[in-house]
Symmetry: C2
Subunit: 246 residues, 2 copies
Protein backbone atom coordinates (compact mmCIF):
# COMPACT_ATOMS: atom_id res chain seq x y z
CA UNK A 1 0.00 0.00 0.00
CA UNK A 2 1.31 3.44 -0.88
CA UNK A 3 2.00 5.33 2.31
CA UNK A 4 1.93 9.05 1.65
CA UNK A 5 3.74 11.14 4.22
CA UNK A 6 3.78 14.90 3.80
CA UNK A 7 6.27 17.41 5.17
CA UNK A 8 6.85 21.13 5.66
CA UNK A 9 10.12 22.99 6.09
CA UNK A 10 10.48 26.12 8.25
CA UNK A 11 13.79 27.92 7.91
CA UNK A 12 14.39 30.40 10.72
CA UNK A 13 16.86 33.07 9.73
CA UNK A 14 17.13 36.82 9.35
CA UNK A 15 20.43 36.22 7.58
CA UNK A 16 18.66 34.44 4.73
CA UNK A 17 15.93 37.08 4.37
CA UNK A 18 18.57 39.80 4.27
CA UNK A 19 20.55 37.95 1.59
CA UNK A 20 23.68 37.64 3.75
CA UNK A 21 23.49 33.84 3.52
CA UNK A 22 22.02 31.56 0.89
CA UNK A 23 20.11 28.73 2.50
CA UNK A 24 21.05 25.24 1.36
CA UNK A 25 19.19 23.20 3.98
CA UNK A 26 15.75 23.43 2.38
CA UNK A 27 17.08 22.07 -0.92
CA UNK A 28 19.00 19.33 0.88
CA UNK A 29 15.83 18.40 2.78
CA UNK A 30 13.77 18.41 -0.43
CA UNK A 31 16.15 15.90 -2.04
CA UNK A 32 16.35 13.77 1.10
CA UNK A 33 12.56 13.59 1.45
CA UNK A 34 12.16 12.84 -2.22
CA UNK A 35 14.33 9.72 -2.01
CA UNK A 36 12.27 8.59 1.00
CA UNK A 37 8.94 9.06 -0.77
CA UNK A 38 7.85 11.94 1.49
CA UNK A 39 6.02 14.87 -0.19
CA UNK A 40 7.44 18.26 0.76
CA UNK A 41 4.43 20.58 0.62
CA UNK A 42 5.83 23.93 1.65
CA UNK A 43 9.00 25.79 2.55
CA UNK A 44 8.78 28.98 4.60
CA UNK A 45 11.67 31.25 5.50
CA UNK A 46 10.84 33.50 8.45
CA UNK A 47 12.63 35.90 10.84
CA UNK A 48 14.07 35.00 14.27
CA UNK A 49 10.95 36.09 16.19
CA UNK A 50 9.40 33.81 18.82
CA UNK A 51 5.74 34.68 18.08
CA UNK A 52 6.21 34.24 14.32
CA UNK A 53 8.00 30.92 14.71
CA UNK A 54 5.17 29.82 16.99
CA UNK A 55 2.40 30.68 14.57
CA UNK A 56 4.14 29.33 11.46
CA UNK A 57 5.18 26.06 13.15
CA UNK A 58 1.62 25.55 14.46
CA UNK A 59 0.24 26.12 10.95
CA UNK A 60 2.71 23.75 9.28
CA UNK A 61 2.29 21.13 12.02
CA UNK A 62 -1.42 21.04 11.20
CA UNK A 63 -0.80 20.97 7.44
CA UNK A 64 1.77 18.16 7.20
CA UNK A 65 2.60 14.77 8.72
CA UNK A 66 6.01 16.09 9.81
CA UNK A 67 7.72 19.48 10.04
CA UNK A 68 11.45 20.21 9.92
CA UNK A 69 12.87 23.46 11.24
CA UNK A 70 16.35 24.72 10.39
CA UNK A 71 18.31 27.24 12.44
CA UNK A 72 18.08 29.24 15.64
CA UNK A 73 19.21 26.61 18.19
CA UNK A 74 22.56 28.04 19.36
CA UNK A 75 23.31 29.90 22.62
CA UNK A 76 22.94 33.54 21.48
CA UNK A 77 20.03 35.98 21.83
CA UNK A 78 18.93 35.40 18.21
CA UNK A 79 18.55 31.63 18.78
CA UNK A 80 14.87 31.43 19.65
CA UNK A 81 13.60 28.39 17.76
CA UNK A 82 13.07 26.18 20.83
CA UNK A 83 11.03 28.96 22.42
CA UNK A 84 9.08 29.43 19.20
CA UNK A 85 8.26 25.73 18.88
CA UNK A 86 7.17 25.64 22.54
CA UNK A 87 4.93 28.64 21.80
CA UNK A 88 3.39 26.82 18.84
CA UNK A 89 1.95 24.17 21.17
CA UNK A 90 1.58 26.21 24.36
CA UNK A 91 4.29 24.17 26.07
CA UNK A 92 6.74 25.34 28.73
CA UNK A 93 10.50 25.51 28.12
CA UNK A 94 12.46 23.52 30.73
CA UNK A 95 16.00 22.47 31.37
CA UNK A 96 16.36 18.94 29.92
CA UNK A 97 18.51 17.20 32.52
CA UNK A 98 19.58 14.22 30.41
CA UNK A 99 20.81 16.59 27.72
CA UNK A 100 22.54 18.82 30.29
CA UNK A 101 24.35 15.70 31.58
CA UNK A 102 25.40 14.81 28.04
CA UNK A 103 26.75 18.34 27.55
CA UNK A 104 28.65 18.03 30.84
CA UNK A 105 30.31 14.83 29.58
CA UNK A 106 31.22 16.59 26.37
CA UNK A 107 32.36 20.00 27.66
CA UNK A 108 33.62 19.19 31.16
CA UNK A 109 34.71 22.38 32.92
CA UNK A 110 34.12 24.39 29.71
CA UNK A 111 30.34 23.98 30.18
CA UNK A 112 29.18 27.54 30.90
CA UNK A 113 25.76 28.81 31.91
CA UNK A 114 25.39 30.32 28.45
CA UNK A 115 26.08 26.98 26.74
CA UNK A 116 23.61 25.29 29.07
CA UNK A 117 20.83 27.40 27.58
CA UNK A 118 20.96 24.95 24.69
CA UNK A 119 19.50 22.35 27.07
CA UNK A 120 16.38 24.48 27.68
CA UNK A 121 13.85 22.67 25.51
CA UNK A 122 10.10 22.54 24.94
CA UNK A 123 8.62 20.11 27.46
CA UNK A 124 7.80 17.34 26.73
CA UNK A 125 10.07 16.45 23.82
CA UNK A 126 12.00 13.48 22.48
CA UNK A 127 15.71 13.62 21.61
CA UNK A 128 17.17 11.85 18.58
CA UNK A 129 20.93 11.47 18.84
CA UNK A 130 23.50 11.36 16.05
CA UNK A 131 26.74 9.47 16.61
CA UNK A 132 29.61 11.69 17.67
CA UNK A 133 27.50 14.78 18.47
CA UNK A 134 26.01 16.02 21.68
CA UNK A 135 23.49 18.27 19.88
CA UNK A 136 20.29 16.27 19.41
CA UNK A 137 17.44 16.60 16.98
CA UNK A 138 14.62 17.74 19.25
CA UNK A 139 11.23 16.25 18.35
CA UNK A 140 8.19 18.12 19.67
CA UNK A 141 4.94 16.45 18.58
CA UNK A 142 5.49 16.14 14.79
CA UNK A 143 8.18 18.86 14.59
CA UNK A 144 11.87 17.98 14.19
CA UNK A 145 14.09 20.90 15.27
CA UNK A 146 17.50 20.95 13.57
CA UNK A 147 20.42 23.40 13.63
CA UNK A 148 21.10 25.67 10.65
CA UNK A 149 24.78 24.84 10.13
CA UNK A 150 24.63 22.80 6.90
CA UNK A 151 27.07 20.04 7.90
CA UNK A 152 25.18 19.43 11.17
CA UNK A 153 21.79 19.68 9.47
CA UNK A 154 22.80 17.05 6.93
CA UNK A 155 24.30 14.57 9.42
CA UNK A 156 21.34 14.86 11.74
CA UNK A 157 18.85 14.37 8.92
CA UNK A 158 20.53 11.06 8.14
CA UNK A 159 19.82 9.94 11.72
CA UNK A 160 16.12 10.50 11.05
CA UNK A 161 16.03 8.37 7.90
CA UNK A 162 14.75 5.18 9.62
CA UNK A 163 11.72 7.12 10.89
CA UNK A 164 10.74 8.47 7.49
CA UNK A 165 9.69 5.97 4.90
CA UNK A 166 6.94 6.66 2.40
CA UNK A 167 6.47 5.02 -0.99
CA UNK A 168 9.01 6.47 -3.41
CA UNK A 169 7.89 8.49 -6.41
CA UNK A 170 9.03 7.26 -9.82
CA UNK A 171 10.38 9.92 -12.17
CA UNK A 172 10.98 9.79 -15.90
CA UNK A 173 12.30 12.74 -17.90
CA UNK A 174 12.16 13.62 -21.59
CA UNK A 175 14.69 16.17 -22.85
CA UNK A 176 13.78 17.77 -26.16
CA UNK A 177 14.65 20.61 -28.52
CA UNK A 178 10.91 21.24 -29.05
CA UNK A 179 9.67 24.46 -27.37
CA UNK A 180 7.05 24.63 -24.63
CA UNK A 181 4.36 26.03 -26.87
CA UNK A 182 4.73 23.08 -29.28
CA UNK A 183 4.58 20.67 -26.35
CA UNK A 184 1.71 22.15 -24.36
CA UNK A 185 -1.17 20.34 -26.08
CA UNK A 186 0.60 16.97 -25.99
CA UNK A 187 1.30 17.34 -22.28
CA UNK A 188 -2.35 18.11 -21.64
CA UNK A 189 -3.49 15.11 -23.68
CA UNK A 190 -1.04 12.86 -21.80
CA UNK A 191 -2.38 14.12 -18.48
CA UNK A 192 -5.97 13.58 -19.57
CA UNK A 193 -5.24 9.99 -20.67
CA UNK A 194 -3.23 9.03 -17.55
CA UNK A 195 -5.04 10.06 -14.39
CA UNK A 196 -2.67 10.19 -11.40
CA UNK A 197 0.50 11.10 -13.26
CA UNK A 198 2.10 14.52 -12.65
CA UNK A 199 3.76 16.30 -15.53
CA UNK A 200 6.19 19.18 -15.26
CA UNK A 201 7.69 21.26 -18.06
CA UNK A 202 10.98 23.12 -17.51
CA UNK A 203 12.26 25.39 -20.28
CA UNK A 204 15.92 26.40 -20.51
CA UNK A 205 17.30 29.60 -21.99
CA UNK A 206 20.35 29.19 -24.24
CA UNK A 207 21.15 25.66 -23.14
CA UNK A 208 22.72 23.82 -26.10
CA UNK A 209 21.66 20.48 -24.61
CA UNK A 210 17.88 20.88 -24.62
CA UNK A 211 15.10 23.47 -24.78
CA UNK A 212 12.66 21.74 -22.45
CA UNK A 213 12.81 18.97 -19.87
CA UNK A 214 9.46 17.25 -19.36
CA UNK A 215 9.11 15.25 -16.13
CA UNK A 216 6.51 12.53 -15.53
CA UNK A 217 5.96 11.29 -11.99
CA UNK A 218 3.81 8.97 -9.92
CA UNK A 219 4.08 6.44 -7.12
CA UNK A 220 2.76 3.91 -9.69
CA UNK A 221 5.80 2.84 -11.76
CA UNK A 222 3.76 1.23 -14.58
CA UNK A 223 1.61 4.32 -14.97
CA UNK A 224 4.67 6.56 -15.43
CA UNK A 225 6.13 4.23 -18.04
CA UNK A 226 2.86 4.10 -19.98
CA UNK A 227 2.49 7.89 -19.86
CA UNK A 228 6.09 8.47 -20.99
CA UNK A 229 5.70 6.05 -23.91
CA UNK A 230 2.37 7.60 -24.88
CA UNK A 231 3.85 11.11 -24.88
CA UNK A 232 7.00 10.03 -26.75
CA UNK A 233 4.84 8.67 -29.58
CA UNK A 234 3.46 12.20 -30.06
CA UNK A 235 6.77 14.12 -30.00
CA UNK A 236 9.10 14.93 -32.86
CA UNK A 237 11.76 12.16 -32.86
CA UNK A 238 14.18 14.42 -34.76
CA UNK A 239 14.15 16.88 -31.85
CA UNK A 240 14.28 14.32 -29.05
CA UNK A 241 17.51 14.61 -27.03
CA UNK A 242 17.15 11.73 -24.54
CA UNK A 243 14.86 9.95 -22.12
CA UNK A 244 15.78 9.17 -18.50
CA UNK A 245 13.88 6.53 -16.54
CA UNK A 246 14.75 5.95 -12.87
CA UNK B 1 13.17 60.32 6.69
CA UNK B 2 13.66 56.58 6.72
CA UNK B 3 11.18 54.96 4.37
CA UNK B 4 10.65 51.35 5.32
CA UNK B 5 9.27 49.18 2.56
CA UNK B 6 8.61 45.54 3.29
CA UNK B 7 8.42 42.64 0.83
CA UNK B 8 7.41 38.99 0.55
CA UNK B 9 8.58 36.40 -1.97
CA UNK B 10 6.35 33.59 -3.24
CA UNK B 11 8.13 30.93 -5.29
CA UNK B 12 5.72 28.75 -7.27
CA UNK B 13 7.26 25.43 -8.15
CA UNK B 14 6.71 21.72 -7.64
CA UNK B 15 10.20 21.20 -9.05
CA UNK B 16 11.74 23.02 -6.07
CA UNK B 17 9.65 21.18 -3.47
CA UNK B 18 10.60 17.87 -5.05
CA UNK B 19 14.30 18.77 -5.02
CA UNK B 20 14.65 18.51 -8.81
CA UNK B 21 15.73 22.14 -9.00
CA UNK B 22 17.41 24.40 -6.46
CA UNK B 23 15.80 27.82 -6.42
CA UNK B 24 18.15 30.77 -6.82
CA UNK B 25 15.60 33.54 -7.37
CA UNK B 26 14.65 34.03 -3.72
CA UNK B 27 18.28 34.57 -2.75
CA UNK B 28 18.83 36.90 -5.70
CA UNK B 29 15.73 38.87 -4.68
CA UNK B 30 16.91 39.00 -1.04
CA UNK B 31 20.21 40.57 -2.09
CA UNK B 32 18.53 42.94 -4.54
CA UNK B 33 16.03 44.16 -1.95
CA UNK B 34 18.74 44.53 0.64
CA UNK B 35 20.71 46.97 -1.52
CA UNK B 36 17.51 48.97 -2.06
CA UNK B 37 16.70 49.17 1.64
CA UNK B 38 13.58 47.00 1.35
CA UNK B 39 12.95 44.48 4.18
CA UNK B 40 12.21 40.97 2.93
CA UNK B 41 9.88 39.54 5.58
CA UNK B 42 9.08 36.09 4.29
CA UNK B 43 9.82 33.58 1.54
CA UNK B 44 7.30 30.84 0.76
CA UNK B 45 7.77 28.01 -1.72
CA UNK B 46 4.47 26.45 -2.74
CA UNK B 47 3.13 23.97 -5.34
CA UNK B 48 1.64 24.88 -8.76
CA UNK B 49 -1.96 24.90 -7.54
CA UNK B 50 -4.28 27.83 -8.34
CA UNK B 51 -6.15 27.87 -5.01
CA UNK B 52 -2.94 27.71 -2.98
CA UNK B 53 -1.27 30.45 -4.99
CA UNK B 54 -4.41 32.52 -4.47
CA UNK B 55 -4.49 32.14 -0.71
CA UNK B 56 -0.74 32.59 -0.17
CA UNK B 57 -0.52 35.65 -2.45
CA UNK B 58 -3.52 37.24 -0.70
CA UNK B 59 -1.88 36.62 2.68
CA UNK B 60 1.51 38.03 1.62
CA UNK B 61 -0.10 40.99 -0.16
CA UNK B 62 -1.71 41.95 3.15
CA UNK B 63 1.50 41.39 5.12
CA UNK B 64 3.98 43.36 3.00
CA UNK B 65 4.23 46.58 0.97
CA UNK B 66 5.13 44.56 -2.14
CA UNK B 67 5.10 40.88 -3.15
CA UNK B 68 7.25 39.18 -5.79
CA UNK B 69 6.26 35.87 -7.31
CA UNK B 70 8.66 33.63 -9.22
CA UNK B 71 7.65 30.94 -11.70
CA UNK B 72 4.58 29.51 -13.37
CA UNK B 73 4.04 32.03 -16.19
CA UNK B 74 4.81 29.92 -19.29
CA UNK B 75 2.34 28.35 -21.73
CA UNK B 76 1.98 24.83 -20.27
CA UNK B 77 -0.68 23.31 -18.01
CA UNK B 78 1.53 23.71 -14.90
CA UNK B 79 1.87 27.48 -15.47
CA UNK B 80 -0.96 28.76 -13.28
CA UNK B 81 0.50 31.76 -11.47
CA UNK B 82 -1.54 34.40 -13.34
CA UNK B 83 -4.70 32.48 -12.50
CA UNK B 84 -3.58 32.14 -8.89
CA UNK B 85 -2.86 35.86 -8.52
CA UNK B 86 -6.25 36.68 -10.09
CA UNK B 87 -7.84 34.32 -7.57
CA UNK B 88 -6.06 36.11 -4.70
CA UNK B 89 -7.98 39.31 -5.46
CA UNK B 90 -11.15 37.85 -7.01
CA UNK B 91 -10.23 39.29 -10.38
CA UNK B 92 -11.08 37.86 -13.81
CA UNK B 93 -8.39 36.63 -16.23
CA UNK B 94 -8.63 38.34 -19.63
CA UNK B 95 -6.68 38.48 -22.86
CA UNK B 96 -4.43 41.58 -22.61
CA UNK B 97 -4.63 43.01 -26.14
CA UNK B 98 -1.60 45.30 -25.94
CA UNK B 99 0.53 42.36 -24.81
CA UNK B 100 -0.93 40.11 -27.50
CA UNK B 101 0.02 42.77 -30.09
CA UNK B 102 3.54 42.91 -28.66
CA UNK B 103 3.79 39.11 -28.95
CA UNK B 104 2.56 39.32 -32.54
CA UNK B 105 5.36 41.77 -33.37
CA UNK B 106 7.86 39.45 -31.73
CA UNK B 107 6.67 36.06 -33.01
CA UNK B 108 5.02 36.93 -36.34
CA UNK B 109 3.51 33.81 -37.89
CA UNK B 110 5.01 31.65 -35.12
CA UNK B 111 2.49 33.11 -32.67
CA UNK B 112 0.31 30.11 -31.82
CA UNK B 113 -2.86 29.93 -29.74
CA UNK B 114 -0.89 28.13 -27.02
CA UNK B 115 1.70 30.93 -26.85
CA UNK B 116 -1.09 33.49 -26.72
CA UNK B 117 -2.22 32.02 -23.39
CA UNK B 118 0.68 33.96 -21.92
CA UNK B 119 -1.31 37.14 -22.70
CA UNK B 120 -4.21 36.00 -20.47
CA UNK B 121 -3.64 38.13 -17.39
CA UNK B 122 -5.46 39.17 -14.23
CA UNK B 123 -7.59 42.21 -15.05
CA UNK B 124 -6.81 44.98 -14.30
CA UNK B 125 -3.01 44.88 -14.22
CA UNK B 126 -0.05 47.03 -15.17
CA UNK B 127 2.81 45.82 -17.39
CA UNK B 128 6.44 46.74 -16.73
CA UNK B 129 8.62 46.13 -19.77
CA UNK B 130 12.29 45.20 -19.89
CA UNK B 131 14.36 46.22 -22.94
CA UNK B 132 14.68 43.48 -25.50
CA UNK B 133 11.99 41.18 -24.03
CA UNK B 134 8.35 40.78 -24.84
CA UNK B 135 7.58 39.09 -21.51
CA UNK B 136 6.53 41.80 -19.06
CA UNK B 137 6.54 41.93 -15.31
CA UNK B 138 2.83 41.87 -14.52
CA UNK B 139 1.84 44.08 -11.59
CA UNK B 140 -1.48 43.25 -9.92
CA UNK B 141 -2.19 45.56 -6.96
CA UNK B 142 1.07 45.26 -4.98
CA UNK B 143 2.13 41.93 -6.53
CA UNK B 144 4.90 41.74 -9.15
CA UNK B 145 4.65 38.49 -11.16
CA UNK B 146 7.99 37.32 -12.62
CA UNK B 147 9.06 34.22 -14.54
CA UNK B 148 11.10 31.50 -12.85
CA UNK B 149 13.94 31.25 -15.37
CA UNK B 150 16.79 32.84 -13.40
CA UNK B 151 18.26 34.95 -16.23
CA UNK B 152 14.83 36.44 -16.99
CA UNK B 153 13.99 36.90 -13.33
CA UNK B 154 17.20 38.82 -12.75
CA UNK B 155 16.91 41.11 -15.80
CA UNK B 156 13.29 41.90 -15.06
CA UNK B 157 14.04 42.68 -11.42
CA UNK B 158 16.53 45.31 -12.59
CA UNK B 159 13.70 47.02 -14.50
CA UNK B 160 11.82 47.37 -11.22
CA UNK B 161 14.70 49.05 -9.38
CA UNK B 162 13.47 52.64 -9.91
CA UNK B 163 10.16 51.74 -8.24
CA UNK B 164 11.76 50.28 -5.14
CA UNK B 165 13.72 52.65 -2.99
CA UNK B 166 13.73 52.40 0.78
CA UNK B 167 16.42 53.69 3.13
CA UNK B 168 19.39 51.31 2.98
CA UNK B 169 20.43 49.31 6.01
CA UNK B 170 24.00 49.78 7.23
CA UNK B 171 25.86 46.58 8.08
CA UNK B 172 29.07 46.10 10.04
CA UNK B 173 30.60 42.68 10.71
CA UNK B 174 33.03 41.44 13.33
CA UNK B 175 34.85 38.18 12.57
CA UNK B 176 36.36 36.47 15.60
CA UNK B 177 37.89 33.25 16.85
CA UNK B 178 35.85 33.56 20.07
CA UNK B 179 33.01 31.02 20.28
CA UNK B 180 29.31 31.88 20.51
CA UNK B 181 28.99 30.96 24.15
CA UNK B 182 31.79 33.40 25.07
CA UNK B 183 30.14 36.10 22.98
CA UNK B 184 26.52 35.70 24.02
CA UNK B 185 26.53 37.97 27.08
CA UNK B 186 28.43 40.74 25.26
CA UNK B 187 25.97 40.65 22.38
CA UNK B 188 23.07 40.96 24.80
CA UNK B 189 24.72 43.87 26.60
CA UNK B 190 25.37 45.61 23.26
CA UNK B 191 21.74 45.17 22.26
CA UNK B 192 20.52 46.50 25.60
CA UNK B 193 22.73 49.60 25.31
CA UNK B 194 21.87 50.38 21.67
CA UNK B 195 18.12 50.24 21.08
CA UNK B 196 17.29 49.86 17.39
CA UNK B 197 20.37 47.93 16.32
CA UNK B 198 20.00 44.32 15.17
CA UNK B 199 22.69 41.83 16.01
CA UNK B 200 23.19 38.45 14.37
CA UNK B 201 25.66 35.73 15.34
CA UNK B 202 26.75 33.15 12.74
CA UNK B 203 29.01 30.30 13.86
CA UNK B 204 31.14 28.33 11.38
CA UNK B 205 32.25 24.73 11.71
CA UNK B 206 35.90 24.04 10.86
CA UNK B 207 36.50 27.36 9.10
CA UNK B 208 40.15 28.33 9.63
CA UNK B 209 39.27 32.00 9.04
CA UNK B 210 36.87 32.59 11.93
CA UNK B 211 34.60 30.84 14.42
CA UNK B 212 31.84 33.43 14.52
CA UNK B 213 30.72 36.35 12.40
CA UNK B 214 28.75 38.94 14.34
CA UNK B 215 26.65 41.35 12.26
CA UNK B 216 25.34 44.70 13.48
CA UNK B 217 22.68 46.47 11.43
CA UNK B 218 20.45 49.50 11.42
CA UNK B 219 19.17 52.19 9.09
CA UNK B 220 20.98 54.65 11.42
CA UNK B 221 24.66 54.61 10.38
CA UNK B 222 25.94 56.36 13.53
CA UNK B 223 24.11 53.92 15.77
CA UNK B 224 25.72 50.91 14.04
CA UNK B 225 29.18 52.43 14.37
CA UNK B 226 28.67 53.19 18.07
CA UNK B 227 27.37 49.68 18.74
CA UNK B 228 30.24 48.02 16.85
CA UNK B 229 32.84 50.09 18.74
CA UNK B 230 31.14 49.37 22.07
CA UNK B 231 31.11 45.62 21.39
CA UNK B 232 34.72 45.59 20.11
CA UNK B 233 35.88 47.12 23.39
CA UNK B 234 34.45 44.06 25.18
CA UNK B 235 35.92 41.36 22.92
CA UNK B 236 39.28 39.61 23.15
CA UNK B 237 41.61 41.55 20.81
CA UNK B 238 43.91 38.53 20.49
CA UNK B 239 41.07 36.53 18.92
CA UNK B 240 39.71 39.28 16.68
CA UNK B 241 40.09 38.40 12.98
CA UNK B 242 38.78 41.55 11.28
CA UNK B 243 36.01 44.16 11.19
CA UNK B 244 34.09 45.10 8.05
CA UNK B 245 32.16 48.36 7.86
CA UNK B 246 30.09 49.12 4.75
Amino acid sequence: MAQVLSASCVVVGNEILSGKTRDSNAHHLARFLRTRGVDLQRIQVIPDVVELIGSVVAEESARSSVVFTSGGVGPTHDDVTYKGVARAFDLPVRRHHALAARMEDFYGPRLTAVRLRMADLPHPCELVHTDGMWVPVVLVRNVYVLPGIPSLFQSMLESLAPRLQGTPIRLQSIYTQQGESELAEHLEATLAAHAGVEIGSYPRMNDPDHRVRVTLESRDADLVTRATDWLLARLDPAKLVRVERD
